[in-house]
């Protein structure tokens, strides 16, 4: 890959270096003799170290050389070899300044004037107890050659052994593929590779080394099984194989390239390498090494020339092949400073996108404000203005959607982590589990995606640990041995709905209830519906596992999941059937920024209802309304009885319409499908609103999801339909048995569903 490609990182490097310099400076200013804070010293060291590291990548030799001096002294301070004195601190601060200068020269692309660093280097070296070299001799950059593994020292020894090795290899199996004379310009290498048994435990993988050898030329690989123990004694984590590789490579492939393959394992293996070249052109490997490897940081010149000359190498699949090859011509062709390969993606700081989101939000408000003023103008006039505004509204909406889509990510990034989790859980519990996922491409805001990981992890663990039966038990009751956990995602009503379904035993209600009573979560004798019992598992401190298992029974449980989900503006519910399994349904908003709403008025107050909750609004006829046990009004809507909730009663708003036949009923639906009729004065219109936090400066309120700012600058509350439903049940206008309510105010969702049945 050409060095030009690096230029794209230069800005990051300079930005980061500026931050690091500030860190170092702040640390240095606090550094004083006496109480030396080692964390601080380490932070300074790291800052300089990082600047040096990055500088090296861009070839800022002088800068790196200077940073190296600086770093060396900081390292001494770090190891307490150099005492912290005022003089030292002064010098270090000066060094930091010089480093800043060097960076700015590098950023400008200019050379630092000769001698810029001399005095400071001299001063720094005094602390190392080194002789002060002649000024002007700024330290050379740390020798790149020294950074490379050295390898050519012990040739004689290797060659000596290699002959025996070749013999051994040939005895094992006569070399058939590459017999006879070595073609001109080629070298035949024989590599005997006998790794230590523990090789795998350092994460090294011989297969990749053999593959790497193959990339260097035509290779014949023979595997030796002589050390393979009997099956009974076989330890899968140990390596018992060894190999002999006969490699016919270009003369350009030098010993260093081969040594490089074994760079990390040379100490742990018996490796013998020998070469045979055609008689006329003996290439002493040692020389080739020093000539080629010294300019270590330049692209290897050997690679492109070697490729066409060694056709077999091209057939091995090499992930590195395309990028360097593809990038080079472009970079060379353009020659400009933006000569990197054309990319179709850019990386953008999330803050910038957030600012954009905020601006779009302000724009939505401004546009609503203009619309509001326009409404006050005499009708029939300013037609162009009205049309223009309509266009603006459309564009604003599109802009909003585009901006939000930048932040959108498919949930697959979370789903893809689950198979591994399932495997681990299955192993830990001894169960057989099949994970089925669907809807991975469903997109949702990045922040939502990130926050899904923990809850999903927990829910899946819960399903496997508590839901699924062991394989034997499943077989006994006629289920497949392997349980299935189904993870799905879908968009529904402007929210993302994620379901975790298992085909296990379902929630053991008797056990759950007795546990809840035992823990004082439910009063003995309280009559709870099945669904209410199921929902007990969301109460804090609830755990049903008989034994605390490794997985989910750690005292944190579904209550934590619920709290996490709730903090994202989401909800979670559970549906369970004994013997058939459980389904957890989790719903979350798609974004945390803007929503389509319907503005309604009640008395002098205005509220926003999320459009996604609204089924329709209608003015009921007196015949549609019924009293229910004198406590609750219900209305017949679309052939279904719906409970009416008077918003003004619930919120204590004066001067509002109480008679639903004179006001309006907005039929709303929550994510779980249950419906409610909200009695309001008027529906004012549909509008995009920007979600503003009420909690940032105040706190959460029952029945209120958030707030927004309307076109006239006034604040309106965004209603939370599910919250309203729940409030209305507590306010006594409900048929739900009060005993249940007091025993367990929490679990009302399904009670409401029951109420939807015609009475």
């Amino acid at each position: 890959m050409p060095v030009d490609d690096l230029s794209r990182f230069k800005q990051t490097y300079f930005d980061e270096s500026a931050e690091l310099l500030a860190v170092a400076e702040a640390g240095l200013l606090r550094l004083a003799p006496g109480g030396v804070d080692m964390d601080e010293v380490n932070a300074i060291f790291r800052a300089v170290h990082s600047i040096k590291g990055g500088g090296g990548a861009f070839g800022f030799g002088e800068l790196v050389a200077f940073a190296h001096e600086f770093e060396t002294v900081m390292d001494g301070v770090r190891n307490a070899d150099i005492p912290v004195t005022t003089g030292l601190v002064d010098t270090l601060i000066r060094a930091n300044d010089v480093l800043a200068q060097m960076l700015s020269y590098a950023a400008d692309g200019t050379e630092a004037p000769a001698g810029t660093t001399d005095d400071t280097v001299a001063a720094l070296r005094r602390f190392l107890g080194k002789a002060d070299p002649a000024p002007g001799a700024a330290a050379p950059p740390p020798e790149p050659a020294a950074l490379l593994p050295d390898d050519e020292d012990d040739e004689a020894g290797i060659f000596g052994d290699a002959l025996a090795a070749i013999q051994a290899a040939r005895d094992d199996r006569p070399a058939a593929a590459l017999p006879g004379a070595i073609p001109d310009g080629k070298v035949r290498w024989t590599i005997v590779f006998r790794p230590k048994a523990e090789l795998l435990l350092s994460g090294n993988e011989p297969t990749y080394m053999l593959r790497a050898l193959r990339r260097l030329g035509e290779a014949e690989i023979v595997c030796h099984l002589d050390r393979l123990p009997s099956l009974r004694d076989l330890d899968a984590e140990l390596l018992h194989l060894s190999w002999t590789v006969t490699l016919l490579a270009d003369a350009g492939v030098d010993r260093a390239r081969i040594d490089d393959v074994f760079e990390f394992v040379a100490d742990d293996c018996d490796i013998r390498i020998s070469a045979e070249a055609p008689p006329p052109a003996v290439i002493p490997p040692a020389e080739a090494v020093s000539a080629n490897a010294a300019p270590a940081n330049l692209p290897e010149p050997a690679a492109p020339t070697a490729a066409p000359a060694a056709p077999p190498a091209a057939t091995t699949s090499s992930p590195s092949g395309p990028p360097p090859g593809g990038a080079k011509p472009k970079a060379n062709g353009n020659g400009g400073d933006h000569a990197g390969p054309t990319t179709h993606t850019i990386r953008v700081d999330l803050d910038k996108i957030d600012r954009l989101v905020n601006m779009v939000g302000e724009m939505v408000i401004t546009q609503a404000m203009i619309a509001e003023h326009l409404r006050d103008l005499p009708p029939g006039q300013f037609q162009e203005l009205r049309e223009g505004l309509e266009g603006l509204a459309q564009h604003t909406r599109e802009l909003r959607e585009s901006v939000m889509s930048i932040r959108a990510q498919p949930v697959s990034s979370v789903f893809s982590r689950m198979p591994r989790l399932v495997r681990e859980c299955a192993a830990a519990t001894g169960k057989e589990v099949m994970l089925v996922t669907s809807g991975e491409t469903t997109e949702v805001d990045k922040t939502v995606v990130e926050n899904l990981v923990d809850p999903l992890t927990h829910m899946i663990r819960n399903s496997i640990d508590h839901g699924l039966e062991g394989p034997d038990e499943r077989e006994r009751i006629g289920k497949p041995r392997a349980g299935t956990v189904h993870l799905s995602a879908a968009h529904r009503s402007g929210r993302i709905v994620i379901e975790v379904t298992d085909d296990g035993r379902g929630i053991n209600r008797a056990k759950v209830l007795s546990k809840a009573i035992e823990k004082g979560l439910v009063q003995p004798g309280a009559s709870l519906s099945d669904e209410e019992i199921d929902h007990l598992i969301f109460l804090p401190g609830f755990s049903t596992a008989d034994q605390v298992s490794n997985l989910s029974g750690r005292g944190v449980g579904m209550d934590v999941v619920r709290r996490n989900i709730s903090s994202l503006g989401g909800r979670i519910g559970v549906y369970s059937a004994p013997g058939e399994g459980s389904r957890f349904v989790l719903s979350l908003p798609l974004t945390l920024a803007v929503l389509d709403g319907m503005v309604i008025s009640v008395g002098e107050e205005r509220f926003v209802l999320p459009l996604t909750n609204i089924v329709e609004s209608l003015r009921p006829k007196p015949a549609d309304l019924h009293g229910l046990v004198n406590k609750c009004d219900v209305m017949m809507a679309r052939g279904e009885y719906v409970r009416l909730v008077h918003l003004h009663r619930l919120f204590g708003i004066p001067r509002a319409i109480d008679d639903a036949t004179r006001g309006l009923v907005v039929l709303v639906e929550t994510e779980d499908g249950s419906r409610l009729g909200l009695v309001v004065d008027e529906v004012l219109g549909q509008q995009q609103v920007v979600i503003k936090s009420l909690e940032a400066n105040f706190r959460r309120l029952d029945g209120v999801a958030a707030a927004t700012i309307l076109g006239d600058g006034r604040v309106a509350l965004i209603l939370d339909v599910a919250g309203l439903r729940e409030m209305s049940r507590h306010s006594g206008t409900t048929t739900t048995a009060p005993t249940t309510t007091s025993a367990l105010p929490a679990l009302q969702d399904q009670a409401d569903q029951r109420q939807r049945q015609p009475v």
């Binding site: 890959m1 490609d5 990182f9 990051t12 380490n42 990082s50 790497a212 760079e263 992930p319 982590r417």
Partner: protein
Amino acid sequence: MKKTVMTVDDSRTMRDMVSFTLRGAGYDVVEAADGQQAMSAIATRKVDLVITDLNMPVMDGLSLIRKLRAIPAHRTLPILMLTTEADDSKKAEGRAAGATGWIVKPFNPDKLVSVVQKVCG
């Protein structure tokens, strides 16, 4: 299937460079700014190779390597350490901790890719 490489470095520049280079070479890359972040990230997703800096705040590279090796699932996970320190003692320390190999900074992209291929294909 794409292999996933995790780059652990407190320097954004380094992470960017490693990511860019390896993505260009067909790998998926996840980033972590220190050992602790790396530990929590690796707990939730499959990683085929870890490339870690040694000098980092919170949890340094050697501790990260030791912690990873202590987990049975990661006993044979390839772990490369990034080091500017050319001295063999650092390498030895890394190997003792369980590192698979090392990459010497500064590195060029080709070198990075070839080392990565060397240990994770």
